[in-house]
């Protein structure tokens, strides 16, 4: 009890320069050491899941595109896969390749932006500027192809809405080549001594913890969990692309490993994009039927779909009512899955490392606003408000 008095409660958020989105961490600090942490969500709760239950499938497709501003392709892709599987619809081969292509471009820009944010947290503004400039090249080709930098709206029931032509393919090839060249510089910059010393051994997540706390994506892979939905449960065109990429795994479990995993994943993505452009099959990119008729033909049913979003495994549960509406939509974003792991990383860390650890999981708060996690000091109790879950969360 006397010890309690020496501890300082440091609020970290909901408004904090290290946060791009509002989340509240309350840190119990002993000098510079973080003794305990509690996470409070709910500041950007938007009610998307509840809203989805009042809209038809086509409207929901556009709604889930807006769950996240970074992985705005992963969400609709995951959703549409569930719908297609309920409806027994098989999109044409070329469409599947285009879905994978956009997913990989999205992964690159997401990881590059993350690298920028990470170096900003570490006080290296120059790398932030460089990383974001490199990212622009990818955003430019995405804009040329889809008409938009962020909200790409590529997916539709039974295929994709846009086809690639030779000009775009050439542009993508040159953009990827340029990116690979720029990436060499970025990798060198990450292995700069001061940055490395800030990342090495920081926010360690042991392999066992990663498995036990169900970490996903690059966070899990940096802790030696060899799992990637693209390889282990292939979707879109990934089953055909199996030999074209490798899953990056590191054993360190610290922020440096997570950085390495993400940067090397960008390199893998460049390989994948080139492979996709090489092997792109000819043919249609969507079924010939009008979208609304297709959506009415989806029978009542339920399905779970998952994709490897840039941040990790994204999971959708969809239940349709057979009259083009949804009974239930449930979204489990990778950030939410990584919050328990985040708490384990933060406990026992230094205060100076908190922003680094927090951004090392690449949190996307608004996407993760589903449940309330409260971690009390005694025994790390987690409470999930059932009433919210029942109402539909979102």
């Amino acid at each position: 009890m006397t010890r309690e008095r020496e501890l300082m409660r440091v609020p970290f958020g909901p408004i904090h320069p290290a946060l791009k989105e509002p989340v509240k961490l309350t840190l119990l600090v002993d000098g510079e050491e973080v003794v305990d942490v509690s996470i409070e969500l709910g500041y950007v709760h938007r009610g998307i899941e509840a809203l989805a239950e009042t809209r038809n499938i086509v409207q929901v497709l556009h709604l889930v595109e807006r769950v996240c501003g970074i992985c705005s392709h992963a969400h609709p892709l995951c959703f549409i896969q569930a719908i297609e599987s309920i409806g027994g619809i098989e999109p044409p081969e070329r469409a599947l390749y285009i879905r994978s292509l956009v997913a990989e471009l999205e992964r690159m820009q997401s990881h590059l932006m993350w690298l920028g944010v990470m170096s900003y947290q570490a006080g290296l503004l120059t790398l932030f500027m460089y990383a974001l400039r490199v990212r622009e090249g990818i955003l430019d080709v995405l804009e040329e192809f889809t008409g938009n930098r962020v909200i790409k709206e590529v997916n539709t029931i039974g295929g994709v809405r846009r086809d690639l032509d030779d000009r775009i393919i050439a542009r993508m090839r040159s953009a990827v080549k340029e990116l690979r060249r720029a990436l060499k510089l970025l990798i060198e910059a990450v292995h700069d001594k001061t940055l490395e010393s800030r990342l090495e051994g920081v926010g360690v997540l042991e392999h066992g913890e990663a498995v036990e706390l169900c970490a996903v994506g690059p966070v899990a892979r940096a802790s030696g969990v060899d799992f990637d939905v693209r390889r282990d449960d292939p979707y879109a065109a990934y089953s055909q692309l199996r030999g074209k990429f490798s899953v990056i795994v590191r054993r360190g479990g610290d922020a440096l490993s997570r950085t390495e995993v993400r940067i090397l994943e960008v390199l893998e993505s460049t390989e994948l994009v080139e492979a996709i452009l090489d092997e792109l099959p000819q043919g249609e990119v969507r079924l010939g039927k009008p979208l609304l008729r297709l959506s009415r033909e989806i029978p009542a049913g339920e399905d779970v779909s998952r994709v490897e979003a840039p941040r990790g495994e994204l999971l959708y549960y969809v239940r349709t009512d057979g009259r083009e509406f949804l009974n239930r939509l449930r979204i489990r974003t990778p950030t939410l899955a990584n919050f328990p792991a985040l708490m384990a990383m933060l406990r026992g860390s230094e205060l100076a490392d908190v922003p680094i650890i927090l951004s090392s999981i690449d949190p996307c708060i608004a996407c993760a606003e589903r449940v309330t996690l409260v971690d009390a000091r005694e025994g790390a109790r987690r409470t999930v408000r059932l009433s919210e879950l029942r109402r539909g969360g979102g």
Binding site: M8, R9, V10, P11, H16, P17, A18, G31, E32, S119, Y120, Q121, A122, G123, L124, L125, T126, L127, M129, Y130, R133, D192, T194, L195, S197, R198, E350, L351, A352, D353, V354, P355
Partner: protein
């Protein structure tokens, strides 16, 4: 009395040059990062804007300290910088002015931190505790290297005699002897910590302690703290230039040269590390300062003592 007048008269000059350096710093940094950057006069515009704003005093603040510390801090920095400048221009002999300058510049940093911490904000408190340990760790090697210069000048603690020595010898201490060069190196290694720039900007790190002791300061208070920081950064560089790299020339020209050298030193030790390096942890700052610059400074002191002994 004349000294007071001269110091007061040179304070605006020091302020002006410091702000110009800050403009250069921001522009250079932006160019290195591939940005256009603000206009050269941006620091002036910033100050005009800040001074025209209201002051806000949090109700948790210890009022007198919070309110007056920025003013005192800026005055200390300006007095320290102006003193160096006056001695440079006039060659006035003042016993112990080296220690006085050192004391004024340290007080300036300390006052700004204490004033900020008196706001009652926990981030400012953390910033102060970080700042104190960092301050102690880099002031020691800095003082040792100043002492090296003093020993070179025959054991006096007056800046004018150090300058006179260099004028006589026809070059800066750092260019004449190994001990002097090492002392300059130690001094320059401490400058990023003194200037609170990466890799040593742990006291004001935005993403960690939300600008630290600056968190509750805004308007005129912030303007004064900014002046204090800018002037003490530049004055430290000016001190380094006049102690170690004085180029003999006629008085006004020599002072101009020193200002130019100070500008170069500041670019090398403030702008460049601030751009190319990331931030390290507070413990790493202390470890670094107590190992690298301190050992170099002690070495330079030892070499200088040997050299001095050899001469005698």
């Amino acid at each position: 009395m004349e000294l007071h007048l001269a110091t007061a008269a040179s304070a605006p000059i020091v302020l002006l040059v410091s702000l110009v350096y800050e403009g250069v710093d921001r522009k250079l940094r932006a160019r290195m990062q591939g940005r256009v950057g603000p206009p050269l006069l941006q620091p002036f515009y910033d100050l005009v804007k800040l001074f025209s704003k209201d002051r806000i005093i949090p109700f948790t603040a210890a009022y007198p300290l919070f309110n007056y510390a920025p003013l005192l801090s800026a005055s200390c920095a300006l007095a320290g910088g102006a003193l160096v400048f006056v001695v440079l221009v006039t060659g006035l002999q003042l016993a112990g002015d080296l220690l006085l300058v050192f004391y004024l510049l340290s007080s300036s940093s300390l006052l700004a931190m204490v004033g900020g911490a008196s706001s009652g904000n926990p981030y400012a408190a953390i910033s102060l505790s970080r700042g104190l340990s960092v301050l102690l760790s880099y002031k020691l090697p800095m003082l040792l290297s100043v002492l090296t210069a003093a020993i070179k000048a025959g054991g006096t603690l007056s800046l004018a005699s150090v300058i006179a020595l260099q004028a006589e010898a026809g070059g800066g201490i750092a260019t004449l002897s190994l001990g002097g060069a090492l002392a300059l190196l130690a001094f320059m290694l401490c400058m990023p910590a003194e200037g609170e720039v990466p890799p040593f900007d742990v006291t004001t790190a935005k993403t960690e302690v939300v600008h630290g002791f600056l968190i509750e300061y805004g308007g005129p208070h912030l303007a004064l703290v900014k002046i204090a920081k800018g002037v003490s950064r530049f004055s430290t560089a000016l001190l380094a230039a006049s102690l170690f790299l004085y180029t003999p020339a006629r008085p006004p020209l020599a002072a101009m040269l020193c200002l130019l050298e100070a500008m170069c030193i500041a670019v090398l030790t403030i702008t460049v590390p601030g751009t190319v390096l990331g931030r390290v942890k507070p413990s790493q700052v202390v470890r670094f300062c107590l190992v690298a610059p301190t050992s170099i400074a002690i070495l330079s002191l030892a070499i200088s003592l040997l050299e001095a002994g050899g001469l005698a």
